[in-house]
Symmetry: C2
């Protein structure tokens, strides 16, 4: 038997009026979740997970939830970004309706960002809204999707095009679950941690430069700090702009180029964090060409990204007109307005700014950053 | 050319803090909508309508919206409750993405309740939320779905199981569009108008007894009053309970039995309002058997429903165990909690109450109200 205590290393409060909740961070939290008083009450729980995570942690979560709910059901989805579709989402609705789940049912998202996005969206829509709890098992999900309430599925014509802003009741980041995370996915999560440096906190950035080896070795104290600071920074930004009217968009540093990479390569070929990593280098270089940062800053960011084991060069998406293909993909990004691409740029280290850029300048950046290494 | 003025007969304000909006009521409003300053601004408009309504009013709405938006697109869905599915909803997303519509796109729902429900849900989900305006062309949609922000699609295992609470920016009830409404659908709309009497306002009920002929003759002054009072009553209830925590459920008078009728017959066989009509007789009879109202009240309600041309007797859903089938269907209703059916009953004329009832009593009501006439 695993221990069933519930000792958090840190707790980040997310302040959103009546939608406020806490992010608990610690090791082996999963087994003792029944001891967390903040779990929503309900007539039943449905654990939504995937076929990779279920064999690892499914039974432990179900066991602890059975202490709190009269009935605990599980639905296992296929693993992978390519399954973040309506068809897969519908498996959750099928499970809920087949089990006769009512409005007092609580959904548990056990898995990475895809599971969190789909479970959150299912919770937002099922009977027009039931409570949900996130138990993110990837670093990316712990530092990114645990704050902000963004839920969504993909559409064949665009990523995250269909979704809702919907907040969880609680997020439990069990650092022990990161032990089973593939190295490539750990690195992808670090891309989002690195991101918080240039846009908001160069102190975190310097800390990352000092502790990158500890993070890659999955040192729990280092991971706890990285998760805590990431959630705190994101919470401060989201708290000021829950519905993404303005400020919140700075969290998409690297994402405009990154989404183009993901879409252009076909979802799932590059991991989200990998696209963001190469995309941050491109956005930093664009910032430099606009005179906002110097070359030393671009170099420093590129070096940290490389140390995390992440790509610093973007893929060629079209042999004939690569820059044209990037621009085409970025114009259908959700942040675009009437076809004008809004870039998140760095206006001096630790400070982000949103602005458009001349196509010629963007083409130059793409040509430079996609050149064969 | 039709007139293009915009003269409202009445305007009902819906107070929901930052989600407040107005319901404009009048004749020939459609053609002059560009003159209504409250239309949301945007880079484009998408008119969502069906193949029945599009030939009647599509061109007029597009023409007036072209005065306000750089681009106006239309998507025409197949007409009918059986098309209130994910597959049809996806046609809206396909249109939005094919036209490259961004977050500043405004959706216009031109049609009845199905169009309103699907357009509202699409607006709630597209890029996690874009504005929408309702232009309801059925009496049911004008008096019911124009207030409350309920949007949804059906799932094979249940009606309205997947949806969102999402408010329109404006509702335009053009009474002239009711001229083309089939008599059966006009009657179905009157079922919801009648409903507001027993649960909240017996003055409206008495007015309906006096003006039923004028309403059936589509007298615009009578229609304007019926729409206005219905929206006002619903607004008062919804304003006190936007997310359906308690009070709002009284609006479902007749709906628990009604939904069972719709589901049991197969969606679209009975109109929603027809199910509600027979369902109200059943709920009133259940109220009587619980000692809450007298037989004279049940008789008076039944008579008014009949005068509107609506069914007062429920269909037999199962030749072997009809009451059992009704109970089974009602137990999966969204209002049920842990399998216990919550009925909206009349606790004296003009006053609703939510409560459970013994199965035996409910079976008696079903046996009586479904008996061959």
């Amino acid at each position: 038997m695993m221990q069933s205590s519930y000792q958090t290393t840190a707790c980040v409060p997310i302040e959103l009026q009546e939608r406020s909740y806490a992010i608990d961070i610690g090791a082996d939290l999963l087994h003792g979740m029944a001891r967390q008083a903040a779990l929503p009450t309900g007539t039943a729980a449905l654990v939504v997970t995937n076929d990779t995570i279920q064999p690892l942690y499914g039974a432990a979560l179900v066991a602890t939830l059975q202490e709190r709910y009269p009935a605990v059901h599980t639905v296992v989805l296929p693993d992978g970004e390519e399954h973040k579709t309506w068809q897969t989402l519908n498996l959750i609705f099928d499970a809920l309706l087949t089990h006769g789940c009512d409005r007092k049912t609580v959904l548990y998202a056990l898995g990475g960002g895809v599971i969190g996005d789909m479970t959150g969206f299912a919770a937002a829509c099922y009977m027009r809204g039931v409570p949900f709890v996130q138990v993110p098992t990837t670093l990316l999900a712990q530092v990114d999707s645990s704050v902000g309430g963004k839920t969504a599925i993909n559409h064949p014509l665009g990523k995250n095009m269909i979704g809702a802003f919907y907040q969880p009741r609680l997020v439990v980041c069990d650092l022990a679950t990161l032990d089973t995370l593939p190295a490539r996915e750990l690195a992808a999560g670090l891309a989002e941690v690195i991101k918080y440096g240039p846009i908001a906190d160069m102190e975190l950035f310097a800390w990352l430069e000092q502790h990158m080896d500890a993070l890659l070795a999955r040192d729990r104290a280092a991971l706890a700090h990285a998760v805590k600071r990431s959630c705190e920074i994101k919470a401060a930004v989201v708290g000021a702009d829950e519905r993404e009217a303005g400020l919140r968009a700075i969290l998409n540093f690297g994402h405009t180029f990154g989404h183009a990479i993901e879409a252009g390569m076909g979802y799932g070929v590059w991991l989200h964090g990998e696209g963001v990593a190469a995309g941050m280098v491109m956005a930093a270089e664009l910032s430099r060409r606009l005179g906002l940062v110097d070359a030393a800053f671009v170099e420093r960011l590129t070096r940290l990204i490389a140390r995390a084991g992440l790509p610093t060069r973007a893929p060629v998406l079209d042999a004939q007109d690569n820059a044209g293909r990037y621009l085409e993909l970025m114009r259908v990004d959700k942040k675009a307005e009437a076809g004008e691409i809004r870039f998140v740029l760095i206006d001096g280290p630790g400070q982000a700014v949103m602005r458009a850029a001349p196509d010629a300048l963007v083409r130059g950046v793409i040509d430079q950053c996609c050149a064969v290494a």
